[in-house]
Symmetry: C3
Subunit: 138 residues, 3 copies
């Protein structure tokens, strides 16, 4: 069985990290599927999906880490060609990935207590984001 839902949400951009665990769990509760996988996918090339312990320290640390890994203040060929100034956002997204698969059993995702599912919006402006949340199983 397959159910495919969409979650729409607003972000502030600039490495905004949004906890989406609850809406994913709520969609799972509504689905008829008991065991299987949840696939969370963000459409677009400037935002990614991962898991973190969602607490202010880690959120600040993750923003600092991305600034070291793919700085927003060095030249990017994308920006020279298109002028939209978000070359770093594309690079970060490509490294982090846009997709996450979480197994579940008896209606419970395999997440730990301090392991939340997050959208990381790397773009350089506020965005309206569409997430696909799909459950497959039996």
């Amino acid at each position: 069985m397959v159910t495919t839902d969409t979650i729409s949400l607003s972000t502030k951009g600039h490495c905004d990290i949004v906890d989406i665990t609850l809406p994913v769990e709520q969609q799972l509760a509504k689905s008829e599927i008991v065991s299987g996988i949840a696939t969370v996918f963000v459409t677009g090339s400037t935002a990614g999906i991962t898991t973190i312990e969602y607490e202010p320290g880690i959120i600040a640390d993750l923003k600092d880490a991305w600034q070291r890994l793919a700085p927003d203040n060095i030249p990017y060929a994308h920006d020279r060609a298109w002028g939209d100034g978000n070359g770093y956002s594309h690079i970060r997204t490509s490294l982090l990935g846009s997709s996450l698969v979480i197994p579940f059993k008896d209606k419970k995702l395999a997440l730990g207590t301090w392991q939340q599912v997050v959208l990381v919006d790397f773009d350089n402006r506020p965005r309206q984001r569409q997430l696909v949340v799909q459950f497959m199983g039996e």
Copy 2:
């Protein structure tokens, strides 16, 4: 229902970035599955899969980013032991990942207009690559 196909392609190595969106979509069109997940997996330990906006600026920026993240001109223990000079290729692959899962519905992948599926071949020579493209759903 499950269908498993293989895509074979030649790369130039050296961080060659190949757009594989069209062959994945063509395999999906041929499949009988309407909604579910597409899993794209590259066999081997020196190439990965991700999504990017496939345009020359981003392609150049991504190559530069990988050179900063896991440089090809620093010593690697793998190279001292095996002499094949592609230690950096292994490290980059391990960071990027060899697998991507994309949900689809009504025969349409959840990709954005400027979000392409790419193979990144990190090896230090041209390679013939085998990708597994598997569709599962109903």
Copy 3:
């Protein structure tokens, strides 16, 4: 069809890299599923899953790479707030990811000969880890 198993294992922490290919293959052999996906997921926010060629050179190189990418000897806000000293472990996990999906066909995972599935335990102490290994298919 869906089967969900758990693998429990001890790690040394400190970027301990554990080859889990064999237990995953053994679980697949026991399952009734012939073709589909294996999802390997580690519960917790300080360990990740990826693939590497599991040989001593690459293992040493990967530890060096993570020390460059998210050093354990710089300040982290998480550590200032919580004092557990593993802020870098959380950041590395968020970058690497906790989930891996591998397609299989005719009971054989799509892995290459030199492509092993590994748990990377980034925490700063030995840990007992729970992995979820789920097979879905037909």
